[in-house]
């Protein structure tokens, strides 16, 4: 039987918790089955054997960007509804894992989220209050977040096995490309504005030019060797208490 509107709504809502039982064996397999239950219950109404076989299928190992998991839920439910063979559904599941992860990581984690965070930090640095800046981030970010979830679930449910069409849409590539320069600009801007706040907090502005030069050099190093420079930076932060204690001991 075809799922009703309320089943679709229930499944979409459940995908917010798709990573709720994340584990090393099946990753979000449990969350996928949990999200698909309202749909599977309807599709296999009156056929308990095939129903529990389907639940078992969707409990298996799966991973995806959480916001695009809804696309997988919709597409897999469509495949089940259209009576695709279990073997085919399994293969479809396996093929979905890769692109849903990489597309989502690139679009959301590496692009949309840092862009929104940096906008809020810039707003604060330019004088907007902390609470307003915080809500600016939450509102801006979640408009995109919810839109992606709605789009993904709809397209998955519409397209079923043909969902790769949706994943080939140009905006998925264009948005990260457009945001990349903005992120870089804002990163530079925010780093300087925050540095000023740190220096203001201690009322220290000596050797400013020298410090700016060192900072520029470190930025370049980090761009080239992010991992190594990151480790050095952590070590430098950890050196602060040591230097404090050392100097206190010398003076005391």
């Amino acid at each position: 039987m075809k799922p009703l509107r309320q089943d679709l709504m229930a499944a979409w809502w459940r995908t917010f918790a798709v990573q709720g039982s994340w584990n090393y064996r099946t990753m979000i397999g449990g969350g996928m089955a949990y999200s698909m239950l309202p749909l599977l219950r309807r599709i296999y109404a009156g056929d308990p054997v095939r129903f529990s076989e389907a639940v078992n299928r969707h409990l298996g190992a799966f991973n995806s960007h959480p916001y695009l998991a809804g696309m997988a839920v919709g597409a897999l439910a469509r495949a089940e509804l259209e009576g695709e063979s279990p073997e085919r559904v399994e293969r479809f599941r396996a093929a979905l894992r890769g692109p849903l992860g990489t597309v989502g990581d690139r679009l959301v984690w590496a692009s949309w989220r840092p862009a929104c965070l940096l906008v809020a930090i810039a707003a604060f640095g330019l004088g907007l209050g902390p609470i307003s800046s915080m809500f600016l981030f939450l509102a801006l970010y979640n408009v995109g977040h919810i839109a992606i979830r709605i789009w993904g679930f709809r397209r998955g449910w519409q397209d079923g096995l043909g969902v790769s069409k949706a994943l080939h849409e140009r905006w998925l590539d264009v948005v990260p490309k457009l945001l990349a320069p903005l992120i870089l600009l804002l990163l530079g801007l925010d780093a300087v504005l925050l540095s000023r706040q740190v220096l203001d907090a201690v009322a220290w502005h000596g050797f400013f030019a020298g410090l700016a030069l060192v900072a520029a050099f470190v930025t370049l190093m980090a761009f080239r060797w992010p991992r190594r420079t990151g480790r050095i930076a952590v070590a430098l932060v950890l050196s602060i208490p040591l230097v404090w204690l050392g100097l206190a001991a010398l003076n005391g």
Binding site: S52, R113, N142, K177, L189, S239, I240, G252
Partner: protein, 234 residues
């Protein structure tokens, strides 16, 4: 500083512990609206203790430092909800007049983030047991629903426990640092190192987000713009 001056009372402690649970569960389990980001959790922490600006500053510094970690794959990443909350409240609690308290708050944030990551791993191992055996769950989907929700509840408890365990120690640590005699040289070193770390974080974060486009010249253009604005405003 006299402990009586710290604006943490039983009520605010309870509020923060409850928030710790809510901010922790948002990160991975539900609903991922990103109140768990250090920028937001630290601002909330500062807000509860009366100084959201202090919280925002700590949060922004922690945020830039963790920008390089998009969770690709199943690698371990810091649990930023409780960590930011604790860092933001610690800085707000002891006052923003010294660099020492800022450094203490940041270090507390990094440390709790790291410990939190271990607790996330332990919980994920626990989830493996909650979801076995699959055949039984498939035969009884109500059980699957129950177990899945239990896993999410555990995550809330985990975040609340983490906050309950480390909130007061972090604030006391920051208060202790504030009481230490300030040396001008130490302050200069601390400020310079924080700025250097920020630069490194910006570079690494830029590399992650640039996908090979444009690259560092844009970052420097942004920095120059920042310098200009800072020069005009300051």
């Amino acid at each position: 500083m006299p402990l009586g001056e710290i604006p943490l009372h039983a009520t605010s402690w309870l509020i923060l512990v409850a928030l710790g649970g809510i901010l922790a569960v948002d990160s991975v389990s539900w609903p991922q609206v990103m109140i768990s980001r250090p920028l937001i959790s630290a601002t909330i922490g500062g807000w509860v203790l009366g100084d959201p600006s202090a919280g925002f500053l700590v949060g922004a510094l922690l945020e830039l430092m963790s920008l390089r970690h998009p969770p690709f794959g199943a690698a371990r990443y810091p649990d930023t909800g409780p960590a930011g909350l604790i860092a933001g409240s610690a800085y707000a609690a002891v006052g923003t007049s010294s660099l020492g308290s800022l450094v203490a708050a940041i270090l507390a944030g990094l440390a709790v983030g790291w410990i939190g990551a271990i607790s996330v791993q332990l919980r994920r191992q626990g989830n493996e047991r909650l979801l076995s055996p699959e055949s039984e769950l498939a035969a009884r989907p109500e059980l699957l629903e129950k177990r899945h929700k239990t896993a999410i509840r555990f995550d809330i408890v985990r975040g609340a426990l983490l906050t309950a365990g480390f909130l007061v120690p972090a604030i006391l640590g920051a208060a202790w640092v504030v009481d230490q005699p300030e040396s001008a040289l130490a302050t200069v070193w601390g400020a310079a190192m924080l700025v250097t770390a920020l630069a490194a974080a910006a570079g690494a974060g830029g590399r992650t987000s640039s996908f090979g486009v444009g690259g560092w010249p844009l970052l420097f253009a942004g920095a120059a713009l920042g310098g200009l604005i800072a020069g005009i405003v300051g």
